[in-house]
Symmetry: C2
Subunit: 429 residues, 2 copies
């Protein structure tokens, strides 16, 4: 970081932080990293404001004054899941389509002397951060924009992994191991096939994590259905039968994004509700139904849905540390004078696992998606390879339990006091 | 326990232990209690055999020789979910309908000099244990039968709670709190209604446990659907709308046993699969579908299924201790000379929570079911009362984390070596 000489007083600006897109078990740990790092630079960063409900808070000038929260609450964010400031599924359109939104952002930032924009999200959010940095320059309002990576889907390019993924991976691996023991116990006289549905619309990283639950062929999960591998019902049903014959039962982890060769999601291909409408979501019951039709095995199925991405109670310690680290790094990068970048996790060694923080230009991550490489999936398409295990295993390492009170995790809640509005104008989103 | 005098050498007999019905996160802790207690009485109890796959192992003379397992493995059962010896959904018929099964049990017990029968299960299993004790007498083969209570459903009478319930209750309460934070984060621009389906075909205890996640009206869960309260769609949908209006979102915990006034399960009333067959199981998508039809809110749903009852990773410490204690007590009761009983948990104080072990005759628990008392459910039928909280809260208290290795719980696996068969006869089940 450049030292300020006595002759040039450092410019002090305020900062803005927002959470964007689907939340995770550790996105608040990144917030904690941003806030605590900003507090270490009182001569460079004045107030830190957070958008209430993400970028929507910036557009509507609904800014949470973070300085009103106690240090203890801010520390507690490190062990609190969900998005404590509120997040939003709100993608700003392209500059040509809706320049007004970007201009409004700059208007609000100007009113509050925001010099730093920290945007905590996935691919779409990095695109937004990039555009804000560009437009700021155009409109004569220079602003330093730094992305903070976050996504349970683990699909951001360049970074070795995405904060948020390690914890959902750990939850799914743990639950697969546990449910596998349950099914194994009773397979002789009861359930023979168990299907667990996990997130991952386009990339199979979370499903792959289920594969960490077992090491030997007889250990669950026996089959994984990835979005990257076109679903072939006949081959799948043969495998299930073989598995029940060989081991007495079959545990299947299926990605919500599992799809036929023609691109149709399995989840769309099946159930209708009481009104005859196609039931979206729920690939697990579809897969379980196929198995029952074909083989008649007794089955059970589970859909983890939000339980998986909110499961702070069994978060990966590595994930919590990385989430915090990218938050802190974002502030340090901004103060070092670089703009329009995102910190990334750089793996320097797998065994023992070592990592450091690097950064890439926002333009290189915006709107891109990293799928599972084919060499991470076994040749039959139903399992993970040793290479994949080597990649995944360190990401779920270590426990980072939250404190408990009365038998429940003692998660923090913000006061969320709003900063005084400075603009007479309003903006509806 | 009666002291043996020097003139009467104590009779030394072998013992048999079996797991029955749906497994839990702590049924193996009960096994550990039985095994460790038996080992403390080498002059009274010789070998301890366990039925492979529960009572099926006794009928087929497939007995696991527990003495072949290391002390470390046995200790590890205390933190391992599922049924390590195998469990069975196999209810012995009435004596008049199938006397042959009971006679076969006595034949196997006689061949292996089994003097103690420890049966770890729920209502049905206590009925079986009772019949074995009766028939043993009739056939001139006296055998001491002691039940070991277990069920996630918490529906056994007389005992204050059932080992297995506290841990599933804790998992559901934790997940409801976590998923609630997730939904709250994003409700402004995304999911407004979240439905979590939990177990409990006839009794709403597990659904009630979800209620522990929040204390104030605005805190999730906002609505609970109990099997004990007939489902009224119009009232329910009104409540959901009110909740979204007041708080911005609505979190619903629904028991798989939720039913209409005429007894039809909600889960049966809805979806059909690709082949037009009624899809059983899955009340969560049915409820979510109703909400979407009526109000158009964006929704998500989860089905916890086996994840909940296998969730040893976040087990209740109280539950683990009680599961172990009833196992140990079963052995002590048997050695004290009582027969056809089941140890129970007796609550002596709620604040602070104190409990002790009592026992009741098997005849008083067999085939009975304890539902939620009406005064545990709020007058509107959608929540839990303070009395219910006072009852439930101690049962989820304390954490009892398993050891981890490579980021995953280090659960034990038995060698499971079979005892040498002594009978030439076989028996098919």
């Amino acid at each position: 970081m450049p030292q300020t000489s006595s002759s040039r007083k450092p410019v002090k600006r305020n900062a803005f932080y927002a959470q964007s897109g689907g939340v995770t078990a550790v996105i608040n740990a990144s917030a904690c990293g941003v806030i605590e790092a900003a507090a270490r630079h009182p001569r460079r960063i004045g107030k830190l404001y957070a958008g209430r409900d993400g970028i929507v808070g910036a557009l509507t000038e609904d800014l949470i004054d973070v300085s009103r929260e106690s240090r203890r609450t801010i520390r507690g964010l490190k062990h609190t899941p969900g998005g404590a400031f509120g997040s939003a599924r709100f993608k700003l359109k392209g500059l040509d389509q809706n320049r007004a939104e970007y201009e409004r952002l700059i208007e609000v930032f100007r009113a509050h002397d925001i010099g730093y924009f920290f945007y905590n999200g996935g691919n779409d959010s990095m695109d937004t951060a990039l555009k804000v940095s560009q437009l700021g320059g155009e409109l004569g309002y220079p602003i330093t924009c730094v992305g903070v990576p976050k996504t349970v889907d683990n699909d951001l390019p360049h970074t070795d992994c995405c904060p948020g993924f390690g914890s959902v991976a750990k939850f799914i691996a743990v639950c697969t191991r546990e449910a596998g023991l349950d099914v194994a116990s009773m397979a002789r006289t009861s359930t023979k096939v168990f299907v667990l549905e996990v997130m991952g619309r386009h990339a199979g990283w979370i499903a792959a994590a289920g594969g960490l639950a077992g090491r030997k062929p007889h250990e669950p999960p026996h089959l994984i259905l990835f979005p990257e591998i076109p679903f072939d019902p006949a081959r799948f049903l043969d495998k299930v039968k073989q598995c029940v014959t060989d081991y007495g039962y079959c545990v299947i982890v299926v990605s919500e994004g599992a799809a036929y060769a023609d691109g149709r999601f399995l989840a769309e291909a099946g159930t209708k509700d009481a009104f005859g409408h196609t039931q979206l979501g729920g690939v697990a019951p579809v897969v379980a139904g196929m198995v029952r039709e074909a083989h008649g095995y007794k089955h059970h199925w589970a859909v983890a849905d939000y339980l998986q991405r909110a499961a702070r109670h069994v978060a990966s310690r590595v994930d919590v540390e990385q989430a915090y680290a990218v938050g802190r790094a974002a502030v340090e990068l901004a103060l070092s004078g670089v703009n329009a970048v995102m910190p990334i996790i750089v793996r320097t060694s797998s065994r023992p696992y070592r990592w450091t923080i690097g950064h890439v230009p926002l333009g290189e991550v915006a709107n891109q998606e990293k799928k599972m490489p084919r060499e991470f999936i076994t040749s039959d398409g139903f399992g993970i390879t040793e290479r994949c295990r080597r990649y995944l295993a360190p990401l779920i390492a270590g426990e980072a339990y939250p404190p408990y009170r009365d038998g429940l995790p003692d998660y923090v809640t913000l006061k969320g006091a709003a900063a005084r509005r400075k603009l007479a104008t309003t903006f509806s989103v």
